[in-house]
Symmetry: C2
Subunit: 561 residues, 2 copies
């Protein structure tokens, strides 16, 4: 059940599925290698009732469409090498996250909203870094707060130099919160704005215009209106030339997911979700492929969105988002799987063999994003490896993403299926870096080469529970006598702990080793923002977020912490 | 004024000055190259009234003594190569931070308490990494929460294997908070405990004992009582042999600071602090040396604690801590300086020339720690470079630590002192890495070599305001016409912003680039802990921290954020 008031469409849950024909806030047009994604937010199109999305301000509904557009550009338009991000509103690029929406939103919704918008911006950068699809942001007026943060996700920012268009991060002076969608991190670590200038910029409500914005590196070019289109076209051409996107390939359609929603579950083609509400659990079962891999990349392309790895990734992504936003009371997600491990490995081998094909690349990158989404999901993650399961290669990443994993030794009484196995593939050593830049196995064996080498040598071998435990791939290998009780007691205990403390614990233990701009956004920046979102100076009755637009000044506790 | 209730000694402020003769909680003994620091907390010796420090639990007062002991070991005992950290209580090493103290403490005190204890543990690690003084922790019983986190700061942990001694991080199951003194980060990133085992460990209230603790890497050795002393002695000998501490040198006494406390200021020998309470400012003036550097290292050692760089560093450290803990309403610290820049550079040159001398090394490392303490101080930091100032070399680090700096172009009307200058020395390029591992100049010019090279070429040259601005060393160079108004308006505006939002902003903008274990502790871990310290599940009337020890179970909001 969605947490915040009433969804404007009368539904009981937030739906992440959409497509361009249903967009209310964006227009997507392609012209050969250049796509134009135009923001034109429908004021009356808010996800919840109670606010209007003026001046291209956004809520989660607007961002769901943005994320969908970028997904489609990758799969449906392999010919697109440059995306122009523009506004259809005169003199306004984007006013950022809608303040009335934020002021009225619950703490969990605010946090989950920020997380999703961060993931969308990271996906824009991922397309640039790994798919040869670069983004140019054209700022025709005001780009304030989240509006400028959206621009920061682009490779290149062009600002109209007309004496009024400006970029700004006015959150602190105006609302007593931080720019929560990566703004502070990207200003410093991506655009390399000098830290004292960043301090000036982030405390200047009206922002910075024209040449100074360029000189301070807040934008790349400040150009007069008369030269804008020429400048945009030249830059688009330059970027298109450098891209390694394929020549002459046709995209595949991201057809609607097969999904059946019941009060206590979700049924997709390859994913089932069962809620055990009294235990505060969501059991997510992933099913292996029902056929061997296709004979050729042409056949893969012909299967399109029904190609098993892609179908499963999309379904899993939708299921995770559904739990995050609509099922706040779920303490733990228990991952199980069903199928033939060898068949899963065969798909990994197929993707590995065709790793240079654009679609195979996109599918790997999609899995990378879905797995990152799981890492960043603030619920306890548990993997159960039992007879009948198919945690192999790509699917075993779920086991390594889990906070804990349990694997059954041998068979269960009354079940004559063979004992469970776990198996690795090349995918586990290279394809899916976490947001810290390391693979899940490298994070698991942080700073050590030997166990990683040992694991590498087992590629393709089915490992039984005792072997998997010995190599360090699962937390506990248990026999049938202990199995049910141990897991039940663990899950009960987990549900009894403070939800907040678990969120903090998991956010710290999951990401060992180095930090990247992405992990800094989710750790340092987000954690501070979450703290501020709890402080009376922002969210109290007299706080800035509540008082914004009322004409009353906020009242602050002046004590520094 | 101290924030929390009544100080047990009846004073109005927390005092950071102490010495071994006054310790109530620790005993420091040295025997050649081995020092033993024994924790024996006086139950009745709490810093505030209202709780008893049972079972070697600690509060800020206990940690002030610990920090003092490690400072003295570095300066007063250059012969000490190994520190044994032990407990005088039977079957208890340390029970961690006192829970009743935490439950009764204000949010700012909790946060500042954690920050100081983190800095103390970092200083223990710094002594090991940079001063050849290693620490062995001997755990004779229970090491719970902060008790185990203290052990984690050591190079080596020996646990008695007697069937009952255990290490634990019970904060989450017991109190619904995180281990807030680096525990999560050090378990993962220093001791390389596998993340799923860390999850088990941090959710197991009773902790882990004996061989399993060693197997999981939570400790280095688990030895029976009968072999304990032999094992400790052997390890101490091994570490002493490897140390690069000097042979045959005598320490210098860290004599009490000269300090006069008035209602609106502090007067040290080289530091003045003036509080402008209506403006919520602390003006900190640093004075340059009153004599040229000594002729030799022997003369430096003879000057001891009165040697200008050391005296100034100690005074500045005390002043910063005083503001942090006792002056919560100060929004900004304005740094000024007075003296001869050439004289300051002469001291840097002296320290550089004698960089291999143990005392010169310790003084550089002390400055490094003091400057890090400034970086981590949650107040707006402002540097004012005006005629008469001496921001050169080491002192100019204060300008680069500041969130913003203002430098006057030329002279002020009615003041015939020559225009201000800024000057660099080798110190700015090497001696003082921040907690992100980069120098302040490298952080300022993040990812760029050219401006750093340009700055390096100016070493020793007095730079006027326009040159300093051109090179990028100050935020604004202003002439006399704008000077006073610009700074006044800025400081007024700063004081009008939300204190919390500024804390979050500064924590993000100050630390660009890479992260280290240390910066992760202050960013990711601390920010999450601060958030949890605001959440009802921990601190609410029915929260775990409040209900601990009452016999009543806490009541949790089960929603995950």
């Amino acid at each position: 059940m969605a947490e915040d008031g009433k969804l404007a469409n009368g539904a009981g849950r937030i739906d992440f599925a959409t497509d361009p024909a249903r967009y209310r806030h964006w227009k997507l047009a392609t012209d050969g290698p250049v796509a134009t994604l135009t923001m034109d937010v429908d004021e009356k199109g808010g996800l919840f009732s109670g606010y209007e999305l003026k001046l291209n301000s956004y809520d989660l509904g607007v961002d769901i469409e943005l994320a969908d557009a970028f997904e489609r550009l990758r799969f449906e338009h392999p010919e697109v090498r440059v995306v122009l991000l523009r506004s259809a509103k005169p003199r306004v690029f984007c006013a950022g996250a809608n303040i009335r929406m934020l002021a009225g939103a619950s703490h969990p919704h605010k946090v989950n909203f920020c997380k999703f918008t961060n993931e969308t911006r990271n996906a824009i950068e991922d397309a640039s870094e790994h798919s040869g699809q670069r983004t140019i942001c054209v700022i025709n007026g005001t780009a304030a707060g989240g509006g400028y943060e959206l621009a920061l996700a682009a490779d290149h920012i062009i600002l109209v130099d007309d004496g009024s268009a400006a970029v700004s991060l006015p959150e602190l002076p105006l609302l007593a919160v931080l720019p929560g969608t990566g703004g502070l991190t990207r200003v410093i670590d991506k655009r390399l704005v000098r830290r004292d200038r960043a301090d000036v910029f982030c405390t200047t409500e009206e922002g910075i215009k024209g040449k100074r914005a360029a000189e301070w590196r807040l934008v790349d070019d400040a150009v007069p209106n008369s030269k804008l289109e020429e400048s945009v076209a030249a830059r688009a051409k330059e970027f298109a030339t450098k891209s390694d996107r394929p020549e002459g390939e046709k995209g595949i359609a991201l057809t609607p997911l097969e999904r059946r929603v019941t009060p206590d579950g979700r049924e997709y083609k390859y994913v089932s979700v069962a809620f055990e509400r009294d235990e505060r659990l969501a059991r997510v079962t992933l099913r292996g492929p029902d056929a061997p891999p296709p004979a050729s990349v042409a056949d893969m392309a012909a299967q399109g969105a029904t190609f098993w790895p892609l179908a499963l990734a999309r379904e899993l992504d939708d299921a995770i988002l559904d739990i995050r936003l609509n099922e706040l009371d779920v303490a733990a997600i228990v991952f199980e799987s069903a199928g033939d491990p060898a068949a899963v490995l065969a798909y990994d081998a197929f993707l590995d063999l065709n790793r240079d094909h654009w679609l195979a690349r996109e599918i790997r990158l999609k899995w990378k994003r879905v797995l990152k989404r799981i890492d960043l999901t603030s619920r306890s993650l548990v993997a159960i490896v039992a007879p009948g399961s198919c945690f192999a290669g790509t699917l075993s990443e779920i086991v390594f993403a889990a906070d804990r994993s349990y694997m059954l030794i041998g068979q269960r009484e009354g079940d004559n299926r063979p004992p469970a196995t776990l198996a690795l593939s090349e995918a586990n050593f290279d394809w899916y870096p976490m947001s810290n830049g390391l693979t899940r196995l490298a994070t698991r064996f942080l700073g050590e080469e030997k166990p990683l080498d040992t694991a590498y040598k087992t590629i393709g071998q089915p490992l039984d529970a005792e072997q998997a435990e010995e190599i360090g791939l699962v937390t506990f290998a248990l026999d049938d006598i202990d199995w049910e009780d141990e897991i039940r007691i663990f899950l009960e205990e987990r549900a009894s702990f403070s939800a907040d403390a678990l969120t903090g614990l998991e956010a710290n233990l999951r990401f060992g080793g180095p930090e990247t701009m992405e992990s800094k956004i989710f750790a340092r920046l987000t954690a501070w923002q979450n703290w501020i979102f709890q402080r009376p100076n922002a969210v109290g009755e007299e706080g800035a977020l509540r008082r914004y637009g009322t004409g009353q000044k906020p009242v602050f506790d002046t004590k520094r912490v």
